[in-house]
Amino acid sequence: MAVELLTLLFNGLAYGVLLFLMAIGLSVTMGMMNFVNLAHGAFAMLGGYLGISLTTRAGVPFLAALPLVFVAVGAVGAGIEVTLYRRFYRSPQLTHVLFTIGLTFMAVAGATYVWGSQIAAMRVPDWLIGQTMFLGLQVGSYRLFLLLVGGAIALALVFGLERTRFGAMVRATVDNRRMAQSLGIDVGRVFSLTFALGSGLAGLGGALAVNFLGGIQPAFPLGYLLVYFLIVVTVGGLGSTLGALAAALLLGLADAAAKFYAPVIASFAIYLVMVVLLMWRPHGILGRR
């Protein structure tokens, strides 16, 4: 019983870390510009497919492919931000929603065209397959890897946002864009960089997610993933890194527990919890506004 519970805890945390990686960019960019980017999941999908192509077709080692995916998806994100998104920051939110849904639909069809509509899986190195002993617990090697890598990145992010000059600029912009601008912070540049970083992390998360979820499909950014992202962002509070981390871990744990104990109601219970949470605190658990 205790072992079962610990395994569940472990798997839930691994999933939560993954969700955090994929959603943190959305949280920060939404907090900063109030831009509702429903296409964020498309970056995760792109990362997943790029990872698959790099490792299986181009023969790049798994560990080398991950940073490549991060850089490539980040560059794509920056390109889209500069050419398209920038002109919509002053538009109403309905415009954001429509525009980014349109982009997502195009990305899904594009992925179907390039990679086919079948589930695509990724080959990982042998040392990531099977089980490992960790703190006296028999756990999946890949999940352990995920938890360590994701945990390290999450820590680096929190540290970077709290302790570096750039992090301070990001936080200032999220808090009050106008005031930050009057203090001489180049808000546009800070936002572009943050957006690139966030998309890169989504891509990295997507690449890591392929093996965890057992493969991905082109409809990946439309389904439950979009909702999970939005849950992490809204429940965690816009622009709050720690809030997003807490929400992602909770969601991961809740998902793992619900799927294990009550698989039938799990799928809709999660939405019920979200609606209730948002009614109770419309600006997130740790949100201030």
Binding site: M30, F105, Y271
Partner: protein, 333 residues
């Protein structure tokens, strides 16, 4: 200068125009010029009705909903389940579909009027997905992903059977859609409809002039949900089938797209959008069903970039410009 009675503006704006009569006559004549496409024609009418229900909420009231399919699907399942369990009389089934969806809309409205912005987006999205997953989980009742089988609808008024050509279905959908448009037309030209538009333009000011907006928003959400349920019930009865996609996110997204494409906040925006969208889908997905979503996405991106007021809004702006130019030419002469 003649004195103008208060409310004269309303009367002028709400007067029935010749164009509208011609439009509905043209639709009624569809069996004459597209006799082979009556099923598609009914689906366009149903989609237009669904978009009209959203227009009331989003176009006039300014409230975003990403889960409007919840009401559409509720109506569809209500009508479908009634018929499956032996209640095959269509009109009462349709009324039931509308009432159940309206009741759901009324219940949801207590949550919805408290929220705005991203939280509103999330909650409407969440409610839509909640119902979708619920219907999926209750496969014993709804048939799950196989859909609701064995929906038998009795002949309309005991006289006209629903056939494969879709003649009865078309007339039925036409009459219901006509009635719904007449109702919404009446609503948007009433003081209630104007206060909705006031809320869309400036919620803070509506509060300042003391308009009881919470109650009005609850009412419009209920009406909108009922109309969406009506559309869903119509689809279930005319196709004699209900699939899970009646509740899906794609349907919620599609109806927003259709409304924006046609032009939100205009009575016929949904109808024009549905016409263009459904015919476009018919043509484009025939050529390449897998990539239909690519074209859909592209249309959406282009509309947002270049025609934010939709087809009707863009057309109206063009007309004003042409008229302005003509007036200028006249002045020069």
């Amino acid at each position: 200068m003649e004195s103008i009675a208060p409310g004269a503006g309303f009367e002028r704006r709400s007067r029935l125009r010749a164009g509208e009569v011609l439009l509905w006559l043209a639709i009624a004549a569809a069996p004459l010029y597209v006799p082979g496409h009556l099923v598609l024609a009914s689906q366009i009418l149903i989609t237009a009705l669904f978009a009209l229900s959203l227009d009331l909420l989003l176009g006039y009231g300014g409230m975003i909903s990403l889960g409007h399919a919840a009401y559409f699907g509720t109506g569809a399942y209500t009508a479908g389940l009634l018929a499956q369990h032996g209640w095959s009389e269509p009109i009462s089934g349709l009324v039931a579909a509308m009432l159940v969806a309206a009741a759901l809309g009324f219940a949801a409205s207590f949550v919805i009027v408290r929220l705005s912005g991203v939280a509103l987006l999330m909650v409407t999205l969440g409610l839509g997905l909640l119902l979708f997953e619920l219907a999926n989980a209750l496969a014993d009742i709804t048939g799950g992903s196989d859909g609701l089988q064995g929906v038998e609808i009795a002949p309309l008024l005991g006289l006209f059977g629903f056939d494969m050509v879709g003649r009865t279905g078309f007339v039925y959908a036409y009459l219901v859609a006509l009635g719904a448009f007449a109702l919404v037309r009446r609503i948007v030209h009433s003081p209630f409809g104007l206060s909705l538009q006031g809320y869309r333009e400036n919620p803070a000011r509506m509060a300042q002039i003391g308009a009881p907006m919470a109650a009005r928003l609850r009412l419009v959400n209920t009406i909108s949900a009922g109309l969406a349920g009506l559309a869903g019930g119509l689809l279930a009865q005319t196709t004699q089938f209900v699939g899970l996609d009646a509740l899906g996110f794609e349907r919620s997204a599609e109806v927003v797209i259709i409304l924006i494409l046609g032009g939100g906040g205009r009575l016929y925006g949904g109808l024009v959008g549905a016409l263009v969208f459904m015919i476009g889908r018919d043509v484009l997905s025939e050529a390449n069903p897998e990539y239909w979503y690519f074209w859909l996405g592209l249309i959406l991106v282009l509309v947002v970039l270049f025609m934010p007021q939709g087809i009707l809004g863009g057309g109206a702006a063009l007309l004003v410009r042409l008229r302005g130019r003509a007036a200028l030419g006249e002045a020069a002469r």
